[in-house]
Subunit: 325 residues, 2 copies
């Protein structure tokens, strides 16, 4: 017997995320009722994953659930916000109980980790597509934005971009990595990205601008720079790449994937020269894992330099409509 | 040249809805920053429309934009809430500028009418699918829910359910209505539903429970009754149907469409006997256009009676997975 929409939400999503005392009414009515925290601003983002565009057909359901929430958590991380509640719009071709159970498990585990309550949902039938709307809050007037940067500020990125892009290539069988441990690490970086919420919270007061890296370092650095009314120069020589990635694809291809690969969900942020010492002192690099990648420049545009010369990249990050995949 | 994701959001959605002073940061960053109104609860809902499931392939783009917001406004109406902000997740097979312009026009017109600012969006490529997340607020402890009803309370519905279902049949060329004015009226009731936000706001203090009628009167009355821990009896003889609908399909079929058709986006609400006189006095029926349809009963389940006898319906409202269409 096919499951009804009512049963789907009830069985697989009600009460699965974190429990929060600020949820007055969660899943099950026409809308959710939530307590706004005082002296804070509400922060809202929405992101969609479409099968075949954002993840390969046949991806593990737990990964689809994890990533659908992770990409939204990453948006909140980039604002320096604290996540609170999520609503899910799930379109599935059929009510496959096993798939739904796994999807829900992946989503709920990450929701619990970040204290997010699932407060509403809509399930519809159609080609597989997951939209999550996330809500959180940030102390008044402290949110990070893309537009606060200025020329000559230092640019940093968290983690090691490029890993997830290699992981996707592995998932698509377009890359072979003989060493099992490295292959598993790279795959996991695509399948189960770790949103940098704690770092985003800590960067308030240090970073002048911040963006999450979802479309490749080069493209997203360009977006931050453009929003800040300047340009950006990335330094090829210092780009952080993981040892796993460098060994799997070689150091050159590793940096290319870091620059243009996408799906990293790391934070890219600018820091004024006057705040760099405080940043490095208060957020030790060994603990918070970030690295310098370049500098905001007065001249518009995004360039990569190597030993002082500008090098050319044929495509500038992932664009759903211009490039596709 | 194909449009990039960035240009899509910027060109077709930025600044298109209402302007609101409580939007600190709208479309264009990783997330929106919003001012929570003091002494109110936040109200959040999410709803998806999938081409071929919720509207016929080839539907007018302005109608798709209008309906995507209308179904969400209707959810807020059912809570007695005041809408404020919306985020859009739009999946389209290609960047068709004319379609996007029309879609945006339909969405923006309704957003302006209800004072809703469009504060965020995500555009992706894939099968046509529109998810809107709506946010609003309601004065603390005054929200309407589905669960407040009790046995022997009167049940009312706004407007004339069944029209939209006939309109959909017309759109699908499964129904012929010779009179052009009637055909146009019925089509418009499907293509451009009018969410009952003002009525929902006014019902606070009178209605004990409320739900929006999206899946047919019978199914949604059953949901309200179940959430309220009781049953419901709808009286076939008094079901309100429009003259247009009765003339187009005959009075019997008209009532069947009202009971099981769906897509009405009217409000169905229960009123305790002690509040009926006040309701009828303070919200004149001629102005607010609602009608009695039945009574909540102690016995669980949803039944339709005609001259005192229970009549049978083969299907109980639209269910995306059980029934499909």
């Amino acid at each position: 017997m096919p499951l009804s929409e009512f049963e789907l939400i009830d069985r697989f999503f009600r009460g699965r995320g974190a429990s929060r005392s600020d949820v007055r009414l969660g899943v099950g009515d026409d809308a959710a009722l939530l307590e706004c925290p005082p002296d804070r601003e509400l922060v809202a983002a929405i992101d969609t994953l479409v099968e075949g565009a954002h993840f390969p057909a046949g991806s593990p359901a737990a990964s689809v659930g994890h990533r659908a929430l992770a990409v939204n958590l990453s948006d909140l991380a980039a604002m320096g916000a604290e996540p609170a509640w999520a609503l899910l719009a799930l379109t599935v071709p059929r009510a496959d109980e096993r798939w739904l159970e796994e999807f829900s498990r992946g989503l709920a585990a990450l929701a619990k980790e970040f204290g997010v309550a699932l407060v509403g949902g809509d399930t519809t039938r159609g080609p597989l597509c997951v939209t999550i709307q996330i809500l959180g809050s940030v102390e008044r007037d402290t949110a990070l934005t893309r537009s606060g940067g200025a020329a000559e500020e230092a640019l940093y990125v968290s983690g090691t971009p490029g890993d997830a892009a290699a992981g996707l290539q592995l998932e698509l069988s377009r890359l072979e990595v003989p060493e099992a441990r490295a292959a598993r690490y790279l795959r996991d970086r695509f399948l189960f990205p770790a949103p940098r919420v704690a770092l985003g919270r800590r960067l308030r007061g240090y970073a002048s601008a911040c963006i999450d890296v979802s479309d490749g370092l080069l493209g997203d650095a360009g977006k931050l720079a453009r929003a800040s009314g300047c340009g950006v120069e990335l330094d090829y020589e210092i780009l952080p790449v993981s040892r796993m990635l460098a060994e799997a694809v070689g150091p050159e291809r590793a940096r290319e994937l870091a620059l243009t690969g996408g799906d990293d969900y790391e934070l890219l942020f600018s820091v004024p020269p006057s705040r760099v010492d405080a940043l490095l002192r208060d957020l030790p690099v060994e603990q918070w894992r970030y690295a310098r990648v370049g500098t905001l420049r007065r001249e518009p545009g995004a360039v990569v330099t190597r030993n002082g010369s500008v090098i050319d990249f044929s495509h500038y990050g992932f664009d759903h409509f211009a490039a596709g995949r």
